[in-house]
Amino acid sequence: MNPGRFFFAIVLRELQVAFKRWGDLASPLMFFVIVSSLFPLALSPKHEVLRNLGPAVLWIAALLATLLSLNALFRTDIEDGTMEQLVLSPYPLTLAIFAKTVAHWLLNGLPLVVLAPALAVTYYLPAEGVRALCLTLLIGTPTLSLLGAVGAALTAGVRQSGGLLALLVLPLMLPVLMFGARATDLAGSGEQIAGPVYLLAALLLLALSLLPFATAAAVRISLD
């Protein structure tokens, strides 16, 4: 099997396993929807308030939903021995880890991008704002998955890891949040968003080139 097929085999396996337990799959997305709908109720249903806060609220909700989905990313595979088999396989562990991260994004990041426009409409974002939200989520959520994977791998051996994971990962995710929310906000008021979008893309490329290696190293630490 060449490395490419190995990669796709792992992505496929992850998707199959995830669809068997679709409750786990749906709960971060439900969380995203529910958190987003809490804000209008807690703040005020005034159009201008929601339009100003919408970009920030939706981005933070997406960030927290990603965080929620990370806990089980490597834990079950480490506990049932799958990860050891991947380490023993003739392919680099980084490739397997990267495949798992890609699957995580397909299962958690991509649905957020799809759901976001519907929620953006309830925040009365103008069409440009909705488009910018989708674009920034599309570029930003893969970075979140890659960063989250490092955190998940580092805490895979820790028992009560939810709060710890948030503490480790959220500071690292800040730049993505700032540029994503800012670009959405700028687009909503009819301004150019090329700057923050390019920065988001740069963050993604940097994350893609470095973080899978760090995650594989962290998985090795958690294994022994």
Binding site: L168, P171, L172, R182, I221
Partner: protein, 250 residues
Amino acid sequence: MMWNWFHKLASPPHFYRLAGIFAPWLLWPALIMLVIGMYGGLVLAPPDYQQGDGFRIIYVHVPSAYLSTMIYSVMAITSGIGLIWRIKLAFAVAASAAPIGASFTALALVSGMLWGKPMWGTYWEWDPRLTSELVLLFIYFGYMSLRASFEDLSKADRASGLLAVIGVVNLPIIHYSVVWWSSLHQGPSIGKLGAPSISGDMLWPLLLLIAASTLFFGAMLLYRVRAEVLDREHNARWVENLLGDTPGEE
């Protein structure tokens, strides 16, 4: 030759002895310089023509802000050494540096806030430097919590070491992100007092205090690493010989 020296330094008993010899030589000069610098800064230096006596808080703020990042880089470098050459002592140094670094970061934040109240009219401003200092504090907390959550010492060392190395790549990214982000900010920008070139009798206490707190950090680090080494090696023969009785044997 060089490697010999390196390996010898990395052996816990040797380091323990050496650190015990060097620590007072760092601590006493640090304390003396601290007293002189404080006197120079708080008494001799003239009040600032714009900020009055309020500017004197820089004599606490600048050294602690400088140390907050310097200690993080010490932590990241020693973690990197530990991960690459598998030297346990390097992890002990990183682990001992973290609480000191977090304390200086907190001190820099608090002193900055106290300065901000009279100067900016508010304790907190989402200024790039304040924000990235706050994130640095979070990263210190993350490092320490991750360490604390493992029971296995070697796992704790390597996992937290990896986090420190990832953090050092991320810190500049976070810092520049905050800078660029606030330049995208359209809100009113706070009128920062222009930095007038600082006069000599204000400057020398500052430089002296920066040197003093660096030495102070060095001394604290050595004392903490000594304690950490004893704790890690409490079953080793040299610790038994050193402490006389054998508390581990029951």
